[in-house]
C-alpha cells in the first residue's frame, strides 16, 4: 500500500485530536472512555499488524508488552502529586515514552531467542512469554501483585489517545513503505528466498518485534491512565487474542482494514450492551481494556475467526486481490 500525504494525515489527525480534547467536557464521559479505548485498540492492532501482518510472524503475546508499558508508566507517574497542566503533560509524555522503551526492551529480550523459530512454534513461544510476564507481575509485590495497582492520574485524553494512534499509523506505514521496510514483506513472503538475496530475516523479525512492542507499551501507558487501575489478569492470553482478531478481521498487512476492525470490535460490545440495556460504569470493569469480556462476545469472535479463515482468509476489509496470510 502506498501511503500518500502521510505527513498531512499525521498533522491533521493530531490537530483534530487536540481540537476534540478542548471540547472534551462537552462529550458524555461514557463515550469519552470508549473513544480512549478505540485509540488504544488502534495503537495495539496497528502495531501487532507490523509483526503478524507485514512480517508474517505470528505473535500471541502482544498484551504482555502492553502490561510492561502500563506498569512502567504507572509506577513513574505515581511518584508525582498534583501538577499543573504543562508539567502533568510533560511527565505523562515522558512516562509513556519510558513505558514504550521498557516494552521495546522486553520485546528485544523475547525476540532474540524466539524469532529463530517459525510459525506455530513462534506462536506458542510468544504465548508462553506473555504468560511469564503475567505470572511475574502477579508475584511482584511492589506493584501490588495479584491485588492490582491503582494509578493516581487520569491523564489520558483525546489528544493523547488519537494523537498517538495517528503516530503509530504513520510510523508503521512509513516504515513498511520505506526501502528498508520492503524487507519485512520479503520475510513474510518467503523467508528462504529473502535470505538468499541478502536479507537477514532474524534482524527484520527482531526489528518488527521491537517496534511493535514499543507501541504496545505506549498503548499500555494510555490504558493505565485511562482506567486508573491495573491487574495482571487483565493482560492475559484472551486479551492478546482480541488484538489478533482485530488484525485478522481487518486483513493481515492492511493498515486501513485493521484500523476499521479495531474501531468496529471496540464499539461492537458497547452497542450490544446498549441494545441489551445494561448500564455502563466507566472504569468499573477495569480488568479488561475493552471494559467487558462477555461470553457471547467471545463466542461471536471465535465463530468469526473460523468462518473468516474458511471463507475469506484475506480479512473482511481487504478488497484487493492480495495473497492469503502465510
Amino acid at each position: 500500500m502506498k501511503f500518500r500525504h502521510a505527513k498531512t494525515f499525521l498533522l491533521g489527525a493530531i490537530a483534530l485530536g487536540f481540537l476534540a480534547s478542548l471540547f472534551a467536557d462537552k462529550i458524555n464521559p461514557y463515550w469519552l472512555f470508549i473513544f480512549y479505548d478505540i485509540g488504544i485498540s488502534i495503537v495495539m492492532a496497528v502495531s501487532l499488524n507490523l509483526i503478524n501482518g507485514y512480517t508474517g510472524q505470528f505473535s500471541l503475546g502482544h498484551a504482555g508488552f502492553m502490561a510492561v508499558g502500563a506498569y512502567t508508566s504507572a509506577v513513574i507517574t505515581n511518584q508525582f502529586g498534583n501538577l499543573n497542566f504543562l508539567a502533568a503533560n510533560g511527565i505523562f509524555a515522558a512516562a509513556l515514552l519510558a513505558g514504550g522503551l521498557a516494552a521495546a526492551l522486553a520485546g528485544l529480550l523475547v525476540g532474540i531467542p524466539t524469532l529463530r523459530l517459525r510459525g506455530d512454534y513462534l506462536a506458542i513461544a510468544t504465548l508462553g512469554f506473555g504468560e511469564i510476564i503475567r505470572v511475574f507481575l502477579q508475584n511482584m509485590d511492589t506493584v501490588g501483585g495479584a491485588r492490582g495497582l491503582s494509578v493516581m492520574h487520569g491523564w489520558t485524553n483525546l489528544f493523547w489517545g488519537f494523537g498517538l494512534a495517528a503516530v503509530t499509523v504513520y510510523v508503521v506505514a512509513s516504515l513498511v513503505n520505506s526501502t528498508y521496510g520492503r524487507g519485512f514483506i520479503a520475510v513474510h513472503d518467503d523467508e528462504v528466498a529473502a535470505e538468499a538475496i541478502g536479507i537477514n530475516p532474524t534482524k527484520y523479525k527482531v526489528t518488527a518485534f521491537v517496534v511493535g512492542a514499543f507501541f504496545a507499551g505506549i498503548a499500555g501507558g494510555l490504558y493505565a491512565h485511562s482506567k486508573q487501575f491495573l491487574t495482571p489478569g487483565g493482560f492475559g492470553f484472551m486479551q492478546s487474542i482480541t488484538f489478533v482478531v482485530m488484525v485478522i478481521l481487518g486483513g493481515m498487512g492492511n493498515t486501513v482494514g485493521v484500523i476499521l476492525a479495531a474501531i468496529l470490535l471496540t464499539l461492537l460490545p458497547e452497542v450490544l450492551r446498549k441494545l441489551s440495556g445494561i448500564e455502563h460504569l466507566p472504569g468499573f470493569a477495569a480488568e479488561h481494556p475493552l471494559g467487558w469480556i462477555g461470553e457471547t462476545r467471545m463466542i461471536i469472535y471465535s465463530l468469526l475467526l473460523i468462518v473468516l479463515m474458511l471463507t475469506r482468509p484475506q480479512g473482511l476489509f481487504s478488497f484487493k486481490k492480495s495473497s492469503a496470510p502465510k
Binding site: F129, E131, I132, E295, S302, L305, I306, L310
Partner: protein, 301 residues
C-alpha cells in the same frame, strides 16, 4: 527423602495426565504438521461428558463402583472421539491445502469456541465432579501415603499407553498411520486412504484427551469450561520437550513437566509454578528445538 518420594509420586500422577494429552498433540502434529490448539478443550469436554454421564450410568450400574467408572470412562472417550472427528471434518479438512498459519488461527478459533460455548451451555461456575470411584483406604508404605486415585491414574495411563503402542505398532491401521506421517503422498499412492487415517488419528487423540479429562476430574474434582487451557498448553510443551511427532517422547515429556512442576509447587516459588512449563519450552526450543527424542528436520526449498 520421604517427602521427595511423596512429591515424586504426586508429580508422576500429574505428569501422566499431561502425557495422555500430549500424545494427542503429537499424533496430530506427526500426521498433519499443525498444532491442534483445541486439544486442551477436548480434555475439558471429556471431563464434562463424564459429569453429565455419571448420573445416567448410575441408573444402570450403581456408582461409585469400578465397573461404573470404567463405563463412564469409555463412554466419555467415545463421545470425544466422535467430536474430534467432527471438528476435523468441519474446521480443518477444508483447509488442508492452505497455509499453516490459516489452520493455526482456525484451531485457535475452534478452541475459543469450545471454551465459551462451554461456558454458555454448562455455566461458568466450577462444578463438582461426582465420585465415580469407590474410595479405597489410603495405602501407607513407610512414611508415604498413596492415594488410591493416584494409583488408578498411573494404572489407567499405563494401560492406555500400552494399548496405543499396540494400535500404532501392530495393527494395519497403525501401520497406515505411520506411513501417512512418514510421507502422505507416497502413502496415498500405496492405496492408503489418508482421509480415514487422519480422522482415525483425531479420534484416537481425542479419546486419550477425554480419558485424561476423567482422570483429572477424579483427582481434582472441580471442573469448569476453561480448565483445559493450562493443562492443554503444558501438555503441548511436554510434546515439544519430548520431540513433537514422537509418541514415547510425548509420554516422557509429560512426566518430566509434571514432576518438575510438582517439585516447584513444593518450594517457596509455588506461585510461579504456572510459568515453569513455558520457561522449559523456551529453553528447549533454544537448546534443542527437535526435542529430547526427536529427529532434526531439514527444510528443503
Amino acid at each position: 527423602m520421604t517427602e521427595f518420594l511423596q512429591q515424586l509420586i504426586n508429580g508422576l500422577a500429574f505428569g501422566s495426565i499431561l502425557a495422555l494429552i500430549a500424545l494427542g498433540y503429537t499424533m496430530v502434529y506427526g500426521i498433519l504438521r499443525f498444532i491442534n490448539f483445541a486439544h486442551g478443550d477436548i480434555f475439558m469436554l471429556g471431563a464434562f461428558a463424564g459429569f453429565y454421564l455419571a448420573p445416567k450410568i448410575a441408573v444402570v450400574i450403581p456408582l461409585p463402583s469400578i465397573a461404573g467408572a470404567i463405563a463412564v470412562l469409555f463412554l466419555a472417550m467415545l463421545i470425544c472421539a466422535a467430536l474430534g472427528v467432527v471438528i476435523e471434518r468441519l474446521a480443518y479438512r477444508p483447509l488442508r491445502k492452505r497455509p499453516k498459519l490459516t489452520v493455526l488461527i482456525t484451531a485457535i478459533g475452534v478452541s475459543l469456541f469450545l471454551e465459551y460455548a462451554g461456558q454458555f451451555c454448562f455455566g461458568a461456575a466450577p462444578k463438582r465432579f461426582p465420585d465415580i470411584l469407590p474410595g479405597l483406604p489410603i495405602t501407607k508404605i513407610g512414611g508415604l501415603s498413596l492415594n488410591s486415585n493416584q494409583l488408578i491414574v498411573l494404572a489407567v495411563t499405563l494401560i492406555l499407553l500400552l494399548a496405543l503402542r499396540f494400535i500404532v505398532m501392530k495393527t494395519r491401521i497403525g501401520t497406515a498411520m505411520r506411513a501417512v506421517s512418514f510421507n502422505p503422498e507416497a502413502a496415498a499412492l500405496m492405496g492408503v486412504n489418508t482421509d480415514i487415517i487422519i480422522s482415525f488419528t483425531f479420534a484416537l487423540g481425542s479419546a486419550l484427551a477425554a480419558a485424561a479429562g476423567i482422570l483429572w476430574a477424579v483427582n481434582y474434582p472441580s471442573i469448569d469450561p476453561l480448565m483445559g487451557i493450562l493443562p492443554g498448553l503444558k501438555a503441548f510443551v511436554a510434546a515439544v520437550l519430548g520431540g513433537i511427532g514422537n509418541l514415547p517422547g510425548a509420554a516422557l515429556g509429560g512426566l518430566i513437566i509434571g514432576v518438575v512442576e510438582t517439585f516447584v509447587k513444593g518450594t517457596r516459588w509455588s506461585t510461579c509454578a504456572d510459568a515453569i512449563a513455558f520457561a522449559v519450552l523456551i529453553l528447549i526450543l533454544l537448546v534443542k528445538p527437535s526435542g529430547l527424542l526427536g529427529k532434526k528436520e531439514i527444510e528443503k526449498v
